[in-house]
């Protein structure tokens, strides 16, 4: 795995502002997108990003390498975003998750999603609750592994896997109805 982040963070720990700027350039956009997805507000998301990097500068020396640097950054960013979230943190839904154990055989909803057009999926995505959007963003957009997501969300790896499938099932259910009957 690329160790650029680790090298940069070690330099940041010694007070290197140039390394700090490079670390920012590498991750600020993705972290801002993550925060904005959680908060649904540009101004608050920018504020969370700002506090995230202030915290990175201050605590670079205490990074212990127990997670990847990227995981560490997302973890700090998540904490900053949740602090600013109205109505508390996105609540997991245990029953919902248990109902959608990942299976190999595609059910009709998955088939519908596989056939749906881009605009319909994009519209359905905006209707998803924050918990579902969050796990999809971390896995599919940020490209984090299940283990990394499990550290960020502080949940077991198994739960990350099932939550991903639950989120996708919710996405499929949120598709406009007419899509299902439409010929390819």
């Amino acid at each position: 795995m690329d160790d650029t982040d680790l090298r940069l963070l070690r330099l940041v720990a010694t007070g290197d502002e140039h390394a700090f700027e490079r670390l920012y350039t590498r991750h600020a956009h993705a972290l801002l997108a993550y925060a904005e997805g959680l908060l649904r507000d540009r101004g608050t998301a920018e504020e969370a990003l700002q506090e995230t990097f202030i915290a990175v500068w201050r605590s670079a020396g205490s990074y212990e390498g127990r997670s990847t640097v990227r995981t560490w950054l997302y973890g700090i960013c998540r904490r900053q975003a949740l602090k600013r979230m109205n109505g508390g943190r996105p609540a997991p839904r245990p029953l919902d998750e248990a109902a959608h154990l990942p299976s190999t055989e595609p059910d009709p909803e998955v088939v519908a999603l596989a056939r749906a057009d881009t605009a319909a999926v994009a519209a359905a995505l905006t209707a998803l609750p924050a918990t579902h959007r969050e796990v999809l963003t971390l896995a599919l957009s940020a490209g984090l592994s299940h283990a990394e997501i499990s550290q960020i969300l502080d949940i077991p790896v198994g739960t990350v896997k099932s939550r991903l499938f639950t989120a996708r099932a919710a996405l499929a259910r949120a598709l406009p109805v007419e899509v299902e009957g439409r010929p390819r």
Binding site: E46, Q50, R58, G61, G75, A124, T126, S141, L171, A172
Partner: protein, 308 residues
């Protein structure tokens, strides 16, 4: 056939590389069920990635704002910084010393004061009720214990949010520590003196000087031990050691109950209660060494994980 069900999200999002990706591609060619799953994941990934891409990059002024808030340099890990005082040394030193002292009062938590006050008041009452000649013994058992526990509570830094703040101020940590020690000892010694004066005024028996010597002697080594352990290790160690020394002394003077411990062992602590020059010098050296070492302790146990 094992299906790569859980690798499909990463595969569809384009995050799998090399052999991993090739293995999934090969599987999909032979497994229609997984191919449908992969297409559904691909739709999902495209929508999520488009959604992320629509979010504008952070504006340049955001980084400028962050940069303007950076402190000159973060602390190198592992050690507590030892800030130097850069003000005009010598201007209004008394005013400054008084300021540092009085501010420590608000930083020391109230149970510390309450416990010390209760112990000294209780000791004074017991001493007043004790048979003639035993007042000194009672005070010697209570006032030093109050001082040792108060020192542990005030100077130990476990779970002490103000310590984080204090470490960031221009006042050196040693001065803060010394101020706390001074304040706590001044308070307990003053309370002990007042209790002794009240006692001699009420009972009209025994000289005040004798009583003060009886409790001030053991107060010095006991507080020094508690101080060193609380600062260098943790407050609970200071408290436990002070209590253990106290108990050993209580059993050694009592001698009524069968303890199962050899009297010789218990008498080891006796010199602490009638300290000679050697014990007093050692106590002073212990406090000096603790003050010298305190800012250089690793601070890892004081800092939590930044996002836990």
């Amino acid at each position: 056939m094992t299906h790569p069900t859980h690798r499909l999200p990463a595969y569809a999002a384009g995050h799998l590389t090399g052999d991993d990706a090739a293995a999934v591609t090969a599987h999909l060619a032979a497994c229609p069920a997984c191919a449908t799953q992969a297409r559904a994941w691909h739709r999902t990934a495209t929508a999520v990635q488009d959604d992320t891409a629509r979010i504008a990059p952070p504006p340049p002024h955001l980084f400028a704002a962050i940069r303007s808030r950076l402190t000159p340099s973060p602390h190198p890990s592992g050690t507590r910084p030892v800030p130097a005082y850069r003000g005009d040394i010598g201007t209004r030193p008394l005013h400054r010393a008084l300021g540092i002292l009085t501010r420590q009062r608000t930083l020391i938590r109230w149970p510390v004061w309450a416990l010390a006050a209760a112990l000294i008041a209780g000791g004074a009452i017991l001493a007043a009720l004790a048979p003639t000649g035993h007042a000194a013994q009672v005070l010697a058992m209570t006032v030093p214990l109050a001082a040792a526990l108060a020192v542990a509570g005030a100077c130990g830094t476990d779970n002490d949010p103000p310590a984080e703040l204090a470490a960031a101020l221009p006042t050196p940590p040693r001065v803060v520590l010394l101020a706390r020690l001074t304040l706590v000892l001044t308070a307990t010694v003053t309370a002990g003196l007042l209790a002794t004066l009240a006692l001699t005024a009420l009972t009209s028996g025994g000289g005040a000087a004798g009583l003060v010597t009886a409790w001030f002697g053991p107060l010095v080594p006991l507080s020094a031990t508690s101080f060193a352990l609380s600062v260098l290790y943790r407050p609970s160690a200071g408290v436990i050691t002070a209590l253990a020394l106290w108990l050993a002394r209580a059993l050694s003077t009592g001698q009524t109950a069968a303890t199962g411990l050899s009297p010789a062992l218990l008498r080891i602590v006796d010199p602490l209660w009638t300290p000679g020059p050697a014990v007093l010098t050692s106590a002073a050296a212990l406090v000096a060494a603790t003050l010298l070492l305190s800012p250089r302790l690793p601070r890892s146990r004081h800092t939590g994980h930044p996002w836990r």
